[in-house]
């Protein structure tokens, strides 16, 4: 399909304000380059990321989702990311159990200084998701037809 | 072109030349540094400025005993012995001059090809002949003969033929990574 070639996935990254968002800013400051697909949504803490956001993202047409926060032990709010860790350990397994490809959902710890890790993660996730193609699982049906129309 | 070779040399040795900040702790502790025409720190300096030839021409790479004192104390974990080793292979491949110790090493291996094990007397004797140092260490010979510390007849492994073949195979392939 010709669509495959020009497929540019939409990826949303929920990033905590103190570590990963700062790391992403630092990547910019250092003029590192990564694919345009990754869109950051700023949240105060990875603990703020309700797993239902992820479901919604897949439903509305995101092809990949990332949840990023401070490394365990470094949380600005001291324990937020420990809860994140448990929540998404369960959620990731549940999503995969329901058929979502493991590569479509990533949780990662990226500190405020790990600009390179942010870049690498963004690039890596983009690449994987690109290979997988557009996500149809969990996607609202009318969206699929709509975009198919738009594509023709 | 030189740098390509140098880069691959460094990569094989697992050494990043810019890790070194030239503190000289390697040279300071090197047992053989006095005899080296390029000191260990100098080797790293040459790697930094891209002068591969000076490394390959030096006697340093042949004199390194592999005692690992340098890397043990190096603040940046620069694996100089690995670098020296790769440099020796490259120097041999590129046909650089055989330096003193290479002769010994070759005699040693020839010895193994013949017997599978090392024959000290033959080794020392052959070496002294080839290197033209006929009298080196010969004062000890009578004592050693008397007490059975050296023997005229070499020990052979039972399968010295297979070892010879193995060594030849290894010589052909030479590097583990290639």
């Amino acid at each position: 399909m010709p669509v495959e070639k020009s497929f540019e996935p939409a990826i949303v990254a929920f990033c905590c304000n103190w570590c990963t968002y700062t790391g992403a800013d630092l990547a910019g400051l250092n003029r590192m380059k990564y694919p345009e697909n990754v869109h950051v949504i700023r949240v105060p803490c990875s603990g703020r990321v309700n797993p239902q956001f992820i479901l919604r993202a897949f439903q509305k047409g995101c092809d990949g989702v990332m949840v990023c926060g401070c490394h365990p032990g470094d949380c600005h709010y001291s324990t937020g990311n420990y809860f994140t860790r448990r929540r998404f350990m369960i959620m990731k397994r549940l999503l995969e159990y329901n058929g979502i490809d493991p590569e479509r959902f990533h949780a990662r710890w990226i500190s405020g200084s790990e600009a390179a890790k942010f870049r690498d993660t963004a690039a890596e996730v983009s690449e994987h998701v690109k290979k997988l193609g557009p996500n149809v699982k969990y996607r609202e049906e009318f969206r699929i037809t709509e975009s198919a129309e738009a594509g023709t | 072109m030189t740098n390509e070779k140098l880069d691959s040399l460094l990569a094989k040795a697992g050494v990043r030349q810019y890790d070194c900040y030239q503190c000289g702790k390697c040279t300071g502790g090197c047992p053989m540094a006095r005899a080296m025409d390029l000191k260990p720190r100098g080797v790293m300096r040459c790697a930094q400025i891209g002068s591969l030839e000076r490394i390959l021409k030096s006697n340093t790479i042949w004199l390194c005993t592999g005692c690992h004192t340098c890397v043990e104390r190096c603040p940046h974990d620069v694996d100089l012995p690995a670098l020296m080793e790769e440099a020796r292979y490259l120097a041999s491949d590129m046909g650089y001059e055989r330096r003193d110790s290479k002769v010994l090493n070759e005699v040693f291996i020839a010895n193994l090809k013949m017997f599978g094990r090392n024959h000290e007397m033959l080794l020392a004797g052959l070496y002294n002949m080839i290197a033209f140092k006929p009298l080196q260490d010969m004062s000890s010979v009578p004592h050693m003969l008397k007490h059975g510390l050296i023997e005229i007849k070499p020990h052979e492994t039972q399968k010295s033929e297979s070892i010879k073949k193995m060594i030849e195979r290894a010589e052909k392939l030479s590097s583990v990574r290639s």
Binding site: A10, E36, R56, C62, F83 | G28, G29
Partner: protein
């Protein structure tokens, strides 16, 4: 319908060279709710801000989206700008099209496309924004300074001089810290004790300062302006309320142990003052070594004390106090070089001293009364080798960082040796000489002219032979191996954070960097603050530094504290959790998740059908809540929501990306 204004910043060429502002403007105008869209070269500039303000009144805007640099950069700027416009400062969203778009992407079309996405996400989000109003909390006008070294002393004095109460807490039995151990200070060579002792006396006597020695922080709760700190007062076994510090008790103590203050170069009794000029100038008993406290027979000191101050029954106590601000000034210790450097003898050779041991040796009040002699035989050295960067700049065996003060104190040591023992040969092995400081390079020059020989190279091995220490290394400028036979070797060892810093920072919630130094909130712009509101930093707990920098940072931290304590109350961020009580079933899952104990269950009056009932619901303490939102993701009904980052706002962003 909301009236959203979209403003696109070029940031000079930083944004505009990659992202096409026209595309953003065109896209913005198509979006529902957008009443106005415009671009400008520098939105954050005065004219840029004016333009936004003008547009607000001209077009009747009620919420603003700015597509520009990171919100971490200018969110505060733009919020301030909105304060005088009639729009609530929280009716603002920033699309980060610089750090996360123009700077990280190359393809102009695709970068512009992404910028449009980001802008659209912000527009969608802001459609759900609501005005937020800051609350105020009272501030306890009292500061706690942890650590009684020169940093803590300076900070305490500055805060106290500004009229605020200060508790200065010190783990040892006297304030003074490392500076009290030093002999002279570079580059002016004024005597360390002469300049630090008066300050020690000042903190002891200042009406606004309460000195708490032999104390440690045990617990911390609360938040900026309202900390509650549990302090452990370790048993001193001497009643300091009565003690006059006469020193009689020390004279007959049968115990002799290595003196910590003199770093093992002399001994002290079990009842002791840390050093003669100690403040408070009163002894304590070291329970690890006291014969009686270890279960033996003694009690001599109690018999000797004319005032009956000695109390062997003394016990640790916990005192709780409230503070508005906390300063961490816990300082450093030297790395344990013997465990790192087997090649330097691993501590086997007596005549190898650490820099601090040499300070004690050369100090007139030290164990040798200032005579530079070898600990092994008491002879004056004829040749001294000074080794720099021991434990620093050595990621393999020690610390990767430069310890900053060593170059200068190495030069000072050389100078002191050459001054006290003219004719001594002094060799300084170095890798680089770093002298960035006022008068520092001149001091280094002087030391070289004094006759100190600088040898460029790191010493590879030191061993003892025939009563001398043979130092082998390379003179890398000559390219030859060198070997120096020295009578004494001084290792200028690196600083590392004081022990216990990990425990203290986790009590306070402050972060540490990879080397365990306390992390400042911003390396350049907020060097004296931690990321935790109300917790500040002074001195070497933040990283190696010399005395002038330490004192400067201490005063900076004090200024921050004074600024905070001068207010009687402060505004808190309104972006905190809020409970919709109708939805809350009081299950309490949020209570256990909140790291600040800000969420509790509250009994409220309600109706159940026709019945009046009492039921429990979650309640957020706006003073404690820091706005992390961890509770909101655990709340199944969504009764808890985070203001400014409401569920619906975030979902709008998600939806907007996928349009």
């Amino acid at each position: 319908m909301s009236r959203i204004g979209v403003f696109v910043c070029h940031c000079g060429t930083n944004i505009a060279s990659v992202v096409d502002p026209d595309k953003l403007i065109a896209a913005a105008r198509e979006l529902p709710g957008v009443a106005y869209a415009a671009d400008y070269k520098y939105m954050c500039s005065e004219p840029g801000q004016q333009m936004i303000k003008d547009s607000i009144s001209e077009h009747g805007l009620d919420r603003i989206v700015i597509a520009s640099c990171s919100p971490r950069m200018h969110e505060t700027t733009f919020r301030k700008m909105l304060k005088n416009t009639g729009i609530n400062p929280y009716m603002l969203e920033i699309a980060n099209i610089r750090e996360q778009c123009s700077w990280v992407h190359v393809d102009k079309d695709r970068a512009s496309e992404k910028a449009v996405n980001l802008m659209r996400m912000a527009v969608s989000k802001i459609s759900k924004n609501e005005p937020l109003y800051a609350q105020t909390i009272p501030i306890t006008k009292k500061a706690l300074v942890i650590g009684g070294g020169i940093a803590g002393i300076q900070a305490a004095l500055d805060i106290a001089d500004a009229g605020h109460e200060v508790v200065l807490l010190e783990r040892e039995s006297s304030v003074g810290g490392k500076m009290a151990m030093l002999d002279k200070t570079f580059p002016t060579l004024d005597c360390s004790a002469c300049i630090s002792t008066p300050k020690m006396v000042d903190v002891g006597a200042h009406p606004n300062i309460t000195l708490m020695t032999s104390c440690e922080v045990e617990s911390v709760s609360g938040y900026i302006g309202n900390f509650e700190v549990g302090i452990k007062q370790k048993a001193r076994y001497v009643n300091h309320d009565i003690c006059t510090g006469c020193g009689l008790c020390e004279t007959k103590c049968p115990v002799k142990v290595e003196s910590e203050f003199n770093l093992g170069l002399s001994t002290r009794p079990a009842i002791y003052k840390l050093f003669p000029q100690a403040v408070p100038s009163k002894p304590i008993i070291d329970k690890e070594n006291c014969r009686l406290l270890k279960g033996g027979k003694c009690g001599i000191c109690a018999k000797l004390c004319p005032l009956g101050c000695v109390n062997y029954e003394d016990e640790d106590r916990t005192i709780t106090d409230n503070f508005g601000a906390i300063v961490i000034a816990t300082g450093y210790q030297l790395v344990d070089w013997p465990s790192m450097y087997g090649e330097y003898g691993g501590g086997r050779y007596k005549d190898i001293l650490s820099g601090l041991q040499f300070e004690r040796t050369v100090n007139a009040a030290g164990p040798t009364e200032g005579h530079i002699v070898r600990p092994s035989d008491g002879k004056e050295p004829e040749t001294v080798v000074i080794v720099k960067c021991v434990g620093s700049r050595d990621p393999n065996k020690g610390k990767s960082y430069c310890s900053r003060a060593c170059c200068m104190y190495a030069a000072k040591h050389a100078h002191q040796i050459l001054e006290k023992l003219p004719g001594t040969r002094v060799f300084i092995f170095y890798i680089d000489v770093r002298t960035p400081g006022k008068g520092y390079e001149e001091f280094y020059d002087q030391t070289r002219m004094d006759g100190a020989v600088y040898v460029r190279g790191r010493v590879s091995k030191i061993y003892e032979e025939e009563g001398q220490l043979v130092c082998r290394g390379e003179d890398s400028l000559l390219g030859e191996q060198v070997s120096v036979k020295a009578d004494m070797v001084i290792l200028e060892t690196a600083m590392e954070p004081s022990p216990g810093i990990a425990e203290l920072t986790s009590l306070l919630g402050a972060a540490r960097d990879v080397n365990n130094w306390v992390q400042e909130a911003h390396p350049k712009l907020r060097p004296a603050e931690t990321q935790v509101g109300g917790v500040f930093l002074a001195g070497t707990c933040q990283g190696p530094k010399d005395i002038p920098d330490t004192v400067a940072q201490a005063s900076a931290a004090a200024a921050k504290v004074i600024g905070l304590l001068n207010k009687s109350e402060m505004e808190t961020s309104p972006m905190i959790s809020a409970v919709e009580r109708d939805k809350c079933s009081g299950c309490g899952v949020c209570v256990g998740i909140c790291p600040y104990k800000a969420v509790t269950l509250l009994e409220i009056d309600d109706r159940h059908g026709a019945k009046r009932i009492k039921r429990e619901v979650a309640n957020v303490n706006s003073g404690l809540c820091q706005g992390c939102g961890a509770c909101t993701s655990a709340c199944r009904t969504g009764a808890l929501d985070l203001l400014g980052f409401r569920n619906k706002q975030i979902l709008e962003e998600v939806d907007a990306l996928c349009l």
